[in-house]
Amino acid sequence: MSIKLEHLNYVYSAGTAYEKQALKDVCLEIPHGEFVGIIGHTGSGKSTLIQHLNGLVKATSGALYYDGKNIYEPGYNMRELRNQVGLVFQYPEHQLFEVDVMSDVCFGPKNQGLNPDQCMECALEALKLVGLKEKYYNSSPFELSGGQKRRVAIAGVLAMHPKVLVLDEPTAGLDPKGRDDILDQIAYLHTQRDMTVILVSHSMEDIARYADRIIVMNKGEVMYNDCPRKVFEHYRELEQVGLAAPQVTYIMHDLKEQGFAVEPNVTTVEEAAAQIKKALEKRK
């Protein structure tokens, strides 16, 4: 179930005064089972990019292959693509509409044409996956707390059994514990359910911790596309486009400047701690 983008371009309001090229010659390949992080500051084209992945936005030119098939070929089954590539928008709780949690999560499976029993089954499974307590299944989604609503909304997408899960800043507005919970849940889905995960985030620390690979978007173009360690080597360039490396990367660089025998390209606290200890022990 790989996704492959070839020379993808997207132009907004073509032919008017507001014309803007949101994506420029984007070439990417996302193999099945990868955890990909996408970063880029507001307006860099990352939201437009992910809306291409399930065909919500159609590229002006270029090709997008899902599982080897070009989705822009006439007669391509877009609905099937949307069943396979689940997209969780930013603040997904704003799309909840049903009278109770259960019915809302059933909305996706129902649209897939499943019968009510099957819908219930999918919904139950999805709600368990996001860790929502059973006592809330029959309450109105509008009575839940922010974090719980977000879980329900994510369950609404998971209930459709997507093979690829795309999330646009799933932790925005949550408190630290809420952020960690959601991200751990996503990491669980990735490893235990064999899902491809594409995570858009502003938090370099989170991306560094979870992603196998980072795609950096800038002005509609792919700026970097590499493993976290390699991407954050370019921390100075990242800063110039309104991004940054995780705080630990800076600390390690400073330490190295001060003569510490550390490898500066680490991206997580655990790695950093190990490096520092090693360096200190060597001294003794």
């Binding site: 707390s145 514990k177 950093a272």
Partner: protein, 283 residues
């Protein structure tokens, strides 16, 4: 008396069933005592639902206590005759940048507060100009707020409060919906205002990096103040913070991890420079 002061503040919501009958009460704030002296930078931390936003709304008399007292600039917020004095003294910036901008042009929005206060026209213009300059948005004065970035919108909202010449600015999660660039913009603006206009700043947030310069931090949980002290003191208790669904800046976490592994560095490290310095001493 302090700029903001509370005495055993209590706020209870009434829970109602579908017919509107009261079925019980819920204490969103339960016996809170805080105080902010003039010119101080006070931070209030807490997870979602800990009562911190409810507390913020008391500082502007949007909510009035059901028990205890809150004074803002010496006025008791419960006294209706001082309602407008309270609101003028403690300006408020909210979380969602879109939902607090009233004007369709930046400068008109900044003028909204002074208009409400009955400030003479000429002075409104000076105030609008000065406030927009103070937040660095003067060149956008004729723009539509819808075309601005999140950080810029929040700066306009701050200018709108500054134009009312408050003694104290209460910011209720002003950066929760912004990207890192926007967050930095807003925080820099707030710090600049604090230096130039000597306003008291009360920042409610759950981004730990934003509060390391605070004079005093209050941590809230279930309507109570559960921790209180300087950033150094608060952030040296990493595990306790985690219990309250919070975390610490990555530097502090790294320092704490190293300490736990037996590296001899001091507690409560907040900045990367401090950590590098402490480690260099060992090297």
């Amino acid at each position: 008396m302090d700029m903001v002061q509370t005495d055993n503040l209590i706020f209870e919501y009434e829970k109602r069933d579908e017919e509107g009958n009261v079925t019980g009460t819920y204490r969103a704030i339960d016996g809170v005592n805080i105080n902010a002296r003039e010119g101080q930078f006070i931070a209030i931390l807490g997870h979602n639902g800990s009562g911190k936003s409810t507390l913020a709304k008391h500082m502007n008399a949007i909510l009035v206590p059901t028990g205890g007292t809150m004074w803002v600039s010496g006025w008791n917020t419960k006294e209706p005759e001082h309602l407008w004095d309270v609101r003028q003294s403690a300006g408020m910036v909210f979380q969602n940048p879109d939902n607090q901008i009233i004007g369709t042009v930046v400068e008109e929005d900044v003028g909204f507060g002074p208009e409400n206060l009955g400030v003479p026209t000429d002075e409104i213009w000076t105030r609008v100009e000065e406030s927009l300059k103070a937040v660095g948005m003067l060149e956008y004065r004729h723009h539509s707020p819808n075309k601005l970035s999140g950080g810029q919108k929040q700066r306009v909202a701050i200018a709108g409060v500054v134009a009312m010449e408050p003694k104290c600015i209460v910011l209720d999660e002003p950066t929760a919906m912004l990207d890192p660039v926007g967050r930095k913009e807003v925080l820099k603006t707030v710090q600049k205002l604090r230096k130039e206009k000597h306003v008291t700043v009360i920042l409610i947030t759950h981004y730990m990096e934003e509060v390391i310069d605070a004079d005093q931090i209050y941590v809230m949980d279930h309507g109570h103040v559960v921790m209180q002290g300087t950033p150094k003191k608060i952030f040296s208790q990493v595990d306790k913070l985690k219990e309250y669904r919070l975390d610490v800046p990555q530097v502090t976490l790294l320092a704490d991890t190293l300490r736990k592994q037996g590296v001899d560095i001091p507690e409560g490290i907040l900045r990367k420079e401090e950590l590098v310095e402490a480690l260099c001493r060992l090297n």
